[in-house]
């Protein structure tokens, strides 16, 4: 319950330690696979199969089944890659930065946000592999000892990407897993089935909940949060260098690192909202993921949306102000050229719609937030498409101007990547507590402590 003057509580409804654990662990242990979950999982699997088909066709026949050509040598694959990686940033921000900033409201969303990050990075990671002409040699981008005595070419942003994305995935996975250990132990202790006890037991790494374990846990968690914090900024900066280091007009822009990071957080929070709102409705988690969470996320969405809007504006202004005819043309082409619908759609979804979040009424409405979040996701994908394709298709020499027409396989790979995400996410919901039990209990502890004081 909230009054207009006081913000809604982080943890609503009277809860005890037991009730928190019961509720969250119950989703995994007792609820079982209901129809809704089965349907979602089936859709995920179907898309995953579509991806399998698309990838098989790609590996068998060649990159040519996509719409890429000269000059547009990068198309959906790279746009998807950047989009998925960007989505992952919200999870890390919630997990790490909000932890270090002592924002208690992160407790109930950080588990599935971090899971979202990991699965998003997995989805993203397939694209740099698939888009290679000879994907069987992808490992040449890594510095491994080889008979040719060759290092990768370190001036290339793609090599930096390898380090950035692999670091990001590793840290995120570790961070998520370490945080998961106490909960896995809980599930091990509560599980009714033998398999459950064994599997959870193995992954719980022998957690007994002793004081020493907790102390080590806190230290490890804090350290990992500290390691993960710079990643929020660095990973997408490095990804933005894929474009900023190139000299293409429309890519070669110093605003790209902060603009991309802001965009990443923007799209990531939108995805968190897109996941959180249905989850809390389906699993009745309104008391754990409260209106306060939604409002805070909406505010972050608004702020990052404004930064992104600033990025658009300053890019356009600088293109005009620079007097550089190539840059000016890129801007003009975005506004009026063959892909203008993508560009205007992007402005609509990323700049215009999020302005609704100024209204508290909108921030309070879960449905409105969901719609805006989905639109932002689409808008951010459009932004990546605009950046990748529109800058490539008309660059310096008009004789090399061409068009990019996505093929069936482009779409299949894009939607197929959702298959990976949904499959893993539904498995996550089913088998792993989607809210951190231990941290929610800690939150309850603090609130009781405050109430008592």
């Amino acid at each position: 319950m909230s009054t207009p003057s006081a913000p809604p509580p982080v943890l609503a409804a009277p809860h005890t330690y037991t009730s928190i654990t019961d509720k969250i662990a119950g989703i995994v242990l007792t609820r079982g696979a209901r129809r809704g979950w089965l349907l979602g999982f089936a859709i995920g699997l179907a898309l995953f199969t579509l991806l399998g088909v698309a990838v098989t066709a790609l590996l068998y026949v060649g990159i040519g089944i996509w719409g890429v050509n000269i000059p547009v040598a990068w198309g959906f694959a790279i746009a998807n890659f950047v989009w998925w990686i960007g989505i992952g940033h919200a999870g890390t921000l919630i997990s790490a930065i909000l932890l270090l900033l002592r924002q208690e409201w992160r407790q109930s969303i950080n588990r599935f946000a971090e899971a979202m990050t990991i699965f998003a990075v997995m989805c993203a990671g397939i694209f740099p592999l698939l888009h290679l002409g000879r994907p069987q040699f992808f490992y040449w981008l890594t510095p491994y000892p080889n008979t040719m005595s060759l290092w990768p070419q370190f001036r290339s942003p793609l090599v930096w990407d390898v380090f950035a994305v692999s670091t990001y995935f590793t840290i995120s996975l570790l961070f998520w897993y370490v945080g998961l250990i106490p909960d896995l132990a809980t599930l091990r202790d509560r599980s009714q089935s033998r398999i459950g006890r064994v599997v959870y037991g193995v992954f719980a790494l022998g957690w007994r909940g002793s004081a020493r374990h907790w102390q080590r846990y806190e230290v490890a968690y804090l350290l990992l949060a500290g390691l993960a914090t710079p990643l929020v900024v660095s990973v997408h900066t490095v990804v933005s260098f894929d474009f900023a280091v190139a000299q293409l007009p429309g890519w070669h822009s110093t605003i790209f690192p902060p603009y991309f990071v802001a965009g990443a957080i923007f799209s990531g929070f939108a995805m968190v909202l897109t996941l959180a709102i249905p989850l809390r409705a389906a699993y009745g988690l309104h008391d754990l993921i409260t209106e306060r969470h939604l409002q805070n996320m909406a505010k972050i969405l608004l702020v990052t949306g404004l930064i992104v809007a600033y990025g658009y504006f300053i890019e356009a202004f600088m293109a005009w102000y620079s007097g550089n005819p190539f840059e000016r043309y890129v801007l003009w082409n975005r506004l009026t050229g063959p892909y203008r619908y993508g560009f205007w759609g992007m402005l609509l979804f990323n700049v215009a719609l999020p302005q609704l979040l100024w209204l508290q009424r909108v921030r309070r409405s879960a449905v409105a937030l969901f719609v805006i979040a989905v639109c932002v996701n689409i808008g951010m994908w459009l932004e990546r498409f605009v950046i990748v394709v529109e800058s490539l298709h008309r660059d310096f020499l008009p004789s090399s101007w061409g068009m990019y027409y996505p093929t069936f396989w482009d779409w299949a790979t894009l939607f197929g990547s959702f298959g990976i995400f949904l499959t893993f996410f539904f498995l996550f919901i089913r088998f792993i507590p989607m809210i951190s039990i231990a941290e929610m209990r800690m939150l309850l502890e603090e609130e009781r402590g405050e109430a008592a004081a």
């Binding site: 000269i70 290679l132 002409g133 981008l141 070419q153 280091v245």
Partner: protein
């Protein structure tokens, strides 16, 4: 080496431990140490250390045993036999060059030097000694080697579609000819294309003597009968003009694409381009034409007008220079100012001007052009006349019509068609295919299974010119003996061999036929030497036609202008597939046409105003109707096309591979409007047909891409290469040895596309097909960009060849994650195919977009015959790998090796890239920038030298020389 033999003998006798002991003995001998020091100096140093020595011996024992120094145990004896009769001069890995000639369309010869690797011809170059080539080639000659290996070629003698042997054919032919002999050959007809070959001419004459009532007809769809008629009208003599453009200050082209096509066009391009360079008085070119051609693109002043309006223009000019009998047309028909200025310019340059009439124009225009040249005193200076080079110069349309009449009337019993495809390309109102059906025995000698072959009884596979002995005359009469480079791949027969069957009734080898004919002509003991020298040089000296003295007549009366209603249609052979003979050649199919950049198909070229008027846009399909016949064609909105006139290219639509990509213009080409005519109707059908173009945007969009200056106004000479001005984090590259660079002269380039096909042939560049070109994935390493400036109805046109720039600060090198593209020690940007993983970042960062990617497995690994075509010095790339122009690094390396063996530096002009070698205009110059006297270094100091997109600081090694023009101040 006797010590070594002794050692060998000793080792051979040793066994086991004894062997080892013996090896130690061997090692101790002074002879062995000397051998070691000589052969492996590095190992000799190790030798001194006893520990190392032991391990060395262990290692070397096995090697020595394999090398024959050891002799442990019996080895099975497998005698191998070396090349017992090695062909003279063959060193595997080193190509041989043979001089031959290609009979190009029109029957005229183009002298060539063909590169042969181990008995396989793989690359065509021009023969510098041949007057039609001067070392250059055109796109058709470059692509001809693909036709040789084309798996679609006819591979067996067939009768009614069933495979037979040559002996079967001989039997049937003898029987039929026996019957003909009885009636003096009254039912025998021979149909050939234009014949210039002296041997074939002699054979034909012999056959006609044997069968006095037989007839020999000639027909080629690209034949312009008006040339002969015009000469007869002007001089009463069947002569042909030879243009000496080097001496011409003013050139007026009346619908004449002399830079783009014609038997002499390579030589003419050379002479024309030489007069477009600074440092000497520049020529001035006026062009009047209906559709934009490469000649029109190079014009200083171009007038777009309907083909029918060229005759009044010719008359106006003739009257203005004082040709007797020429009357000026009505003033309102032509732009008076233009005509007056041109006439004044011509008069000012008497004896140094030239009027060229297009071969496709009417006889009246041709005659007027001749007479104008005479009146201007140009004869003997810029133009001279020689007798017609063909064995029999005749009105081929009339000849064909006579034949068709005979066939339709049933007077023909045996029809022998040597080459060509008359059933496909005869005029639409001359029913050749139908009439042919009435002939009881039809024999066709053909490369492909085309329409005529489908209607013939006996189809004999033709031998390609690279497989046959023959001879051919160039445009000036020079004879070349055509020698084969490879035995016929599919048992093909040349026209000589087939005619020998008709003449002698027996099989005769082409070699014997040709040689016998020449031996008969040139009697004497030194024939063998002479023959060898002819084959070596590629020309028979002294065979150029002698100049003919001509007496001008009065100007012909103006032809009556018929009701000029509706649209005018102008027929032209397709720039790449010509009259259809090259339609099966994938390189030519994929060759972007010079102005429309169209591939894999033809279209109807419509003027922008006409298109707007009729509501037509590119790729829309229209129905063309002429004299009651229709055909559907896609539209191209062509800049520079004259209003009210559309250009249609014939060559597509027949039977055979790839013909289906275009429409059949022959279906509406009537005999009374073979080259142009009135009354065309164009109706939109609402359908669309995608056009595979490689360049979609032909405007420069206000960017500094092609620089052009009026002559004398170019920037002043630059100081020799200024030092790098931009600061950089990275040190400058230093080049102690060679530093390669290239300069491309935009003033000279005529957009002929020879360089594109030459590069494709030299570097094993795959063909991707129409669907992939539609997707934007063509693979040409060098492309020619065509840019238009100004009014679309009368545009300025520029050709810009764009190969890899080999930038000093290459943006591609920076972003490749696996170092697959690196900076070479001599300045080249080197592409390492086997390291490329295919991220395509290099292509994204290349501002010139010269990189090409193998999106699919484009190289044809499976076609047996096409594998023979690959240049063994160049890697064949597979799927997923990036490729681009390499400055023909294989040629650089070969030359460097040869130079190093001789202990000297590479001389300027020794390394010639494929594109440079093919270019008739000598527009591409390549060489060593560290060589102070190299031509390329000199060219780069010219004021008009600039780098494309130089503000990006890529510092490309390929720079451009701005185009120069010479406008007439009166018309500016």
């Amino acid at each position: 080496m006797t010590d070594l033999d002794a050692v060998r003998a000793r080792l051979a006798a040793a066994r086991g431990e004894q062997y080892w002991r013996t090896l130690e003995e061997v090692a101790d001998s002074a002879a062995f140490e000397e051998l070691l020091a000589r052969e492996m100096p590095a190992a000799a140093v190790q030798w001194l250390d006893p520990m190392r020595r032991r391990s060395f011996l262990k290692l070397m024992a096995a090697a020595l045993a394999l090398g024959g120094l050891g002799g442990c145990g019996e080895r099975p004896s497998e005698p191998i036999v070396p090349y017992v009769r090695t062909p003279e001069g063959v060193i595997p890995g080193r190509p041989l060059y043979f001089a031959t000639a290609m009979p190009s369309a029109g029957g005229f010869g183009l002298g060539l030097l063909v590169e042969s690797h181990l008995g396989r011809p793989i690359k065509v170059e021009g023969n510098p000694r041949h007057p039609a080539s001067l070392g250059a080639t055109d796109a058709h000659a470059q692509a001809s080697v693909l036709t040789l290996y084309d798996p679609e070629r006819l591979q067996a003698v067939t009768f009614a579609g069933a495979i037979r042997t040559w002996a079967d054919f001989l039997g049937a032919a003898r029987a039929a000819l026996g019957a003909q002999r009885a009636q003096r050959g009254a039912g025998l007809r021979l149909l050939t294309e234009t014949v210039t070959s002296p041997t074939l001419g002699a054979q034909l004459r012999a056959v006609l003597e044997q069968y006095p009532d037989a007839r020999w007809h000639q027909w080629e769809p690209s034949r312009a009968d008006a040339v002969r008629a015009g000469a007869l009208a002007a001089f009463g003599d069947d002569v042909r003009p030879i243009h000496h453009l080097a001496a011409a200050d003013v050139i007026v082209a009346l619908d004449a694409d002399f830079l783009g096509c014609g038997p002499a066009h390579l030589a003419e391009v050379r002479e024309f381009a030489a007069r477009r360079r600074p440092g000497q008085p520049m020529n001035r070119l006026y062009v009047a034409e209906s559709g934009l051609t490469p000649t029109g693109a190079k014009a200083d002043h171009r007038l777009g007008l309907r083909a029918a309006a060229v005759a009044p223009l010719a008359r106006a000019l003739a009257a203005a220079v004082g040709v007797p009998g020429a009357t000026a047309p009505h003033a309102d028909q032509l732009p008076a100012r233009w005509v007056e200025a041109v006439a004044r310019d011509l008069r000012r340059h008497r004896g140094r001007s030239l009027v060229v009439a297009g071969e496709t124009q009417t006889a009246e225009v041709q005659a007027l052009a001749h007479l104008t040249n005479v009146a201007l005193g140009n004869v003997g200076h810029t133009v001279s006349y020689v007798p017609a080079v063909e064995v029999r110069s005749e009105d081929q349309l009339a000849s064909l019509k006579t034949l068709v009449d005979d066939m339709a009337a049933g007077r023909v019993e045996v029809l022998v068609v040597l080459g060509g495809d008359p059933a496909f390309n005869a005029p639409a109102d001359v029913p050749f295919a139908e009439a042919m059906g009435r002939v009881p025995l039809r024999i066709h000698l053909s490369l492909y299974g085309n329409d005529t072959a489908a209607r013939s009884h006996w189809v004999v596979p033709a031998a390609h010119y690279l497989e046959s002995w023959s001879d051919v005359r160039a445009f000036d009469g020079t004879v070349t003996v055509v020698q084969p480079l490879i035995a016929p791949l599919y048992g093909g027969k040349s026209a000589h061999e087939l005619l020998a069957v008709l003449g002698e009734g027996a099989t005769q080898a082409g070699y014997d036929i040709v040689r016998a004919r020449w031996q008969a002509e040139r009697r004497g003991a030194d024939f063998d030497d002479a023959w060898r020298s002819w084959l070596e040089a590629g020309v028979v000296p002294g065979t150029a036609s002698a100049t003919r003295y001509v007496l001008p007549r009065r100007a012909p009366a103006p032809s009556q202008a018929d009701g000029q209603e509706g649209l005018e249609v102008v027929f032209r052979p397709d720039p790449a597939v010509h009259d259809g003979r090259f339609a099966s050649n994938a390189w030519l199919q994929e060759l972007p046409r010079p102005l429309s950049r169209l591939t894999w198909g033809n279209a109807v070229h419509v003027a922008p105003t006409t298109a707007a008027h009729l509501g037509l846009r590119a790729e829309q399909v229209v129905e063309l109707a002429l004299r009651g016949r229709t055909v559907r064609a896609p539209v191209v909105v062509a800049a520079g096309q004259a209003e009210g006139s559309v250009t249609v290219h014939f060559g597509y639509g027949g039977r055979g591979p790839f013909h289906e990509h275009g429409f059949n213009a022959y279906a509406i080409r009537p005999s009374d409007a073979l080259w142009s005519g009135w009354g065309l109707e164009m109706r939109p059908t609402g359908a669309r047909s995608p056009l595979a173009r490689t360049q979609h945007h032909q405007r420069m969009e206000g960017r500094d891409i092609v620089r052009a200056f009026p002559a004398g106004h170019e920037p002043p000479r630059a100081t020799p290469e200024p030092a790098a001005a931009e600061p950089s984090l990275y040190p400058e590259w230093s080049y102690a040895g060679y530093r390669w660079g290239m300069a491309i002269d935009l003033s000279a380039c005529v957009g002929c596309n020879a360089c594109v096909v030459a590069c494709q042939a030299e570097n094993n560049i795959p063909v991707v097909g129409k669907r992939e070109v539609l997707r934007g994935r063509e693979m040409h390493w060098i492309r020619i960009d065509t840019y238009f400036t100004g009014d679309p109805a009368a545009p300025g046109t520029y050709f810009m060849p764009v190969p890899c720039m080999h930038c000093e600060n290459a943006p591609c090198e920076l972003v490749c994650p696996v170092e697959a593209t690196v900076h070479g020690a001599e300045g080249l940007n080197e592409m390492v195919y086997n390291r490329c993983v295919g991220t395509r970042y290099c292509s994204n960062n290349c501002p010139y977009k010269v990189r090409r990617f193998n999106f699919f497995e484009y190289s044809r690994w499976n076609a047996e015959s096409l594998r023979l075509l690959y240049n063994p010095d160049v890697t064949v790339r597979s799927r997923g790998v990036m490729e681009k122009c390499t400055y023909c690094v294989q040629r650089i390396v070969q030359t460097r090796i040869a130079a190093e063996k001789e202990g000297r530096r590479i001389r300027d002009g020794e390394v010639v890239t494929a594109c440079q070698q093919a270019c008739p205009a000598e527009a591409i110059v390549f060489g060593d920038l560290n060589d102070e006297e190299s031509r390329v270094r000199l060219l780069k100091t010219e004021g008009r030298n600039y780098a494309l997109l130089e503000e990006l600081n890529t510092r490309p090694r390929t720079t451009y020389l701005a185009a120069l023009s010479n406008p007439n101040p009166e018309l500016a």
